[in-house]
């Protein structure tokens, strides 16, 4: 069924559609990891409702509402997208599907992929049939992403890949991986990299999870030993993979920063903290002042995210300025969890205490300012590329 492209008409059509198609159980926030639907070949639905919700949403392109219908999307423009999210939020509906395929590979293919690649890879992502992971970082490289060492040799009818990736989120659960590989060892650092797609079931691919200070983590180490990859599995030009990576980094920054951004709809941290403190309320000046500062910054950063989306949609390129979103968003998110820990006090010092695994979330946020480019890298991007400072 086709939806109207007029925002307010669409809103009404959507409300009707949701009434019929969004299962009641899907209309509240997930309480466990398993209740978040990532899809993929090995996905086990946590409930029939989760499966129904995915299938019904996918059938009308609502898993990737802004993608073209030809690739499994609903082709919504920004105005309708906004309505879409408002309406889901209104009934507190979960996203039917989330994945790196939606966030990362999809946008990359839409920008750099061939028509064949788009038609081949995008619809399975939209239907939640194939789960992707990302293979960028390598041991010892740290912030220097372009220092890719994983070897990708041209063997005529195929590529031969050897090397190791680290911080490959959910690699142990993924069906495919998109990775940066060194396809030309002679060329300058940024010119010899290719963006390649590898089936995780290929011979020679192994992966193992990394334990973080916050406990079990989605991160993995992934190893490639003489892995053979078909020639047409390269996105964009061979040796121009850095362009794709840069595009995605910009994209990823906006995504990660969104995590930290407060929205007027959401509940104020200060209000949560006040409950936390119980009768004490936020009586002490230190906590109250910190909560107010957080609230002011959180709302303003949320508005900035909105503003940048509007800019991007209006065609005004955001580009390197997105480093600001990533930096401010992640710093804010860490500040948020520091306040939550302080609010939880002694009860937040247990791995599984009266306030749940808040400590785990707190420790996890410490990675926000490292993954997807450290805050230092973000500040350098701003100072060099936005402000044009020397060196």
């Amino acid at each position: 069924m086709p939806f109207s492209s007029d925002p307010e008409t669409f809103r009404n059509e959507l409300r009707d559609w949701l009434k019929i198609n969004c299962p009641q159980e899907m209309q509240d926030a997930p309480t466990t990891e398993a209740e978040i639907c990532w899809g993929g070949k090995n996905w086990v639905f946590s409930s029939d409702a989760q499966q129904q919700w995915l299938e019904r949403a996918a059938s009308v392109g609502f898993t990737v509402p802004t993608w073209p219908q030809a690739y499994g999307g609903a082709g919504l423009d920004r105005a309708c997208e906004k309505v879409f999210h408002e309406e889901l939020a209104r009934i507190n509906a979960r996203l039917p599907l989330q994945s790196f395929g939606i966030w990362m590979l999809g946008p990359a293919l839409l920008q750099f992929g061939t028509e064949e690649q788009k038609l081949h890879y995008l619809p399975p992502i939209a239907r939640g049939e194939i789960r992707w992971c990302q293979g960028y970082s390598e041991p010892g490289a740290g912030s220097d992403l372009a220092s890719v060492q994983t070897k990708c040799e041209d063997k005529g009818d195929h590529w031969l890949v050897n090397g190791q990736k680290i911080w490959t989120s959910y690699a142990d659960k993924a069906d495919w991986i998109f990775a940066l590989v060194r396809s030309d060892r002679e060329a300058p650092k940024h010119k010899g990299i290719s963006f390649i797609l590898v089936d995780m079931t290929s011979k020679g691919v192994t992966t193992r999870p990394i334990k973080l200070i916050s406990g079990i983590s989605p991160f993995c180490e992934t190893f490639f030993d003489d892995v053979e990859v078909p020639k047409h599995h390269v996105v964009g030009e061979v040796n121009r993979g850095w362009d794709v990576a840069k595009y995605l980094l910009t994209h990823e920054r906006q995504m990660i920063s969104a995590g930290g951004s407060g929205l007027f709809g959401g509940r104020a941290l200060g209000a949560i903290a006040a409950d936390d403190a119980g009768d004490g309320g936020l009586s002490d000046a230190t906590s109250r002042a910190a909560a107010m500062d957080y609230e002011v910054n959180s709302l303003a950063i949320g508005l900035t995210l909105e503003r940048y989306k509007d800019m991007a949609e209006s065609g005004a390129g955001v580009g390197d300025a997105s480093a600001m979103l990533k930096y401010m968003g992640t710093e804010l998110n860490m500040q948020r969890m520091e306040l939550m820990m302080s609010g939880g006090g002694a009860e937040a010092l247990e791995w599984d205490g009266p306030v749940g695994n808040r400590a785990g979330e707190w420790l996890r946020t410490k990675a926000n300012s490292i993954e997807g480019g450290t805050s230092e890298v973000m500040l350098s991007i701003v100072s060099r590329r936005v402000l044009g400072l020397p060196g």
Partner: protein, 371 residues
């Protein structure tokens, strides 16, 4: 709500304003005024009126350009960049917004004269150290079928140049806003030597006579007129401050690119780079809150309090950082009076206190957000 990007009209308005101000009112112009002890430039204000700035919030029917609060913010922001000293906020934003709350021939005439640049106003609310309208002590005692106003207002911005005053005073059942000429018998204005070299006065009211006609809005209900006016002023002042931040930051980045020390450009020192980058991020984030406040005042003024206080709170913390870094990164020269950075620092400090400081607006945000 309208998008958080400037419309074509807004972009044009900003360009036009920037062009005019760089010509007619650059920082060097403000320095001349400061050195001459002048706090007002009537000629400059007349030109701005001719461009429709004085009537930016005046209905077209009354000869205004009626461009709205977002536009007013754009103009205030550009004035902030060059530290242009004008009655814009007091007359064209605060007074105009207050007058628009009451219909009637008198207010229409006043609005028309504001738009023409022929009439200036000042808001007489503050009395003590901090912005606290509810704590007003100045009193208007009933006498016959009129009032007698007594007490002292301080930090009345533009109080020296203003033709008329909006005076907040206690009455029997609450607070009332009076609209009286500044030369009425019993009104004594003493100019305050402000650090930002702008016009502000301490104004004594000695048994000043006022009639029912002098009341703007309803007796004992000043806030239904004053609140929108103050919020419009707070949003425009926040916009001015963010322009000020951008101006100070621009000077600083230029300096980082040209100043050499230990044989290299200081802009190549990573510590300074990261501090400058962080400051830029803060300025960008504040710009969003400023634009949002303007949009809210134009689209849903009665729900704009949160947006306005958010804008002022962010504008204050950002301006503070911008001028401190500005002075620090310039080193010794930044401390000299011959250099303009000091003007930005002093103006930022005064703007911080006017119409509510960080604590005031952060508390507003907290309350609106339920804690």
């Amino acid at each position: 709500m309208t998008k958080l990007i400037q419309t074509e009209e807004e972009v044009m308005l900003a360009d036009m304003a920037r062009g005019f101000l760089d010509e007619a009112a650059p920082v060097s112009h403000f320095r001349k005024m400061r050195d001459a002890g002048a706090t007002h430039d009537a000629g400059l204000w007349r030109e701005m009126a001719q461009m429709g700035w004085a009537g930016v919030l005046v209905p077209e029917a009354a000869g205004g350009s009626d461009m709205g609060h977002a536009a007013a913010g754009i103009l205030a922001g550009e004035m902030g960049k060059t530290l242009a000293a004008t009655p814009f906020l007091s007359s064209s934003v605060i007074a105009a917004t207050a007058l628009r709350q009451v219909s009637g021939k008198r207010s229409d005439e006043a609005l028309a004269r504001i738009a023409a640049g022929d009439l200036t106003y000042a808001l007489a609310v503050d009395e003590g150290k901090k912005f606290a309208p509810q704590a007003t002590e100045v009193e208007a005692k009933r006498e016959g079928n009129g009032y007698r106003i007594s007490g002292t207002k301080a930090f009345v911005v533009d109080g020296g140049l203003a033709d008329r005053l909006l005076v907040l005073a206690k009455t029997d059942e609450g607070l009332t806003l009076f609209d009286i000429p500044s030369d009425r018998t019993g009104v004594t204005r003493n100019a305050q030597g402000m650090i930002d070299a702008r016009d502000a006065s301490r104004i004594a009211f000695d048994n000043v006579e006022a009639t029912g006609d002098d009341v703007l809005g309803q007796v004992d209900d000043a806030m239904s007129v004053l609140r929108p006016a103050m919020e419009a002023g707070q949003a425009a002042l926040a916009a001015e401050m963010s322009g000020l931040s951008a101006g100070a930051f621009g000077m600083t980045v230029d300096y980082l690119k040209e100043r050499k020390q230990f044989g290299v450009l200081i802009g190549s020192f990573q510590a300074l780079q990261h501090r400058a980058a962080h400051l830029w991020c803060e300025i960008e984030v504040t710009a969003s809150a400023i634009m949002h406040a303007g949009r809210m005042l134009d689209s849903a003024p009665e729900q704009a309090t949160l947006a306005v206080s958010l804008a002022k709170a962010r504008a204050i913390s950002t301006a503070k950082l911008a001028v401190i870094e500005g002075v620090q990164m310039h080193g010794g020269i930044g401390m000299t009076d011959d250099f303009d950075m000091g003007f930005y620092m002093k103006r930022a400090r005064v703007s911080t206190e006017w119409l509510g400081d960080y604590s005031y607006h952060a508390e507003q945000v907290a309350q609106k957000r339920g804690f």
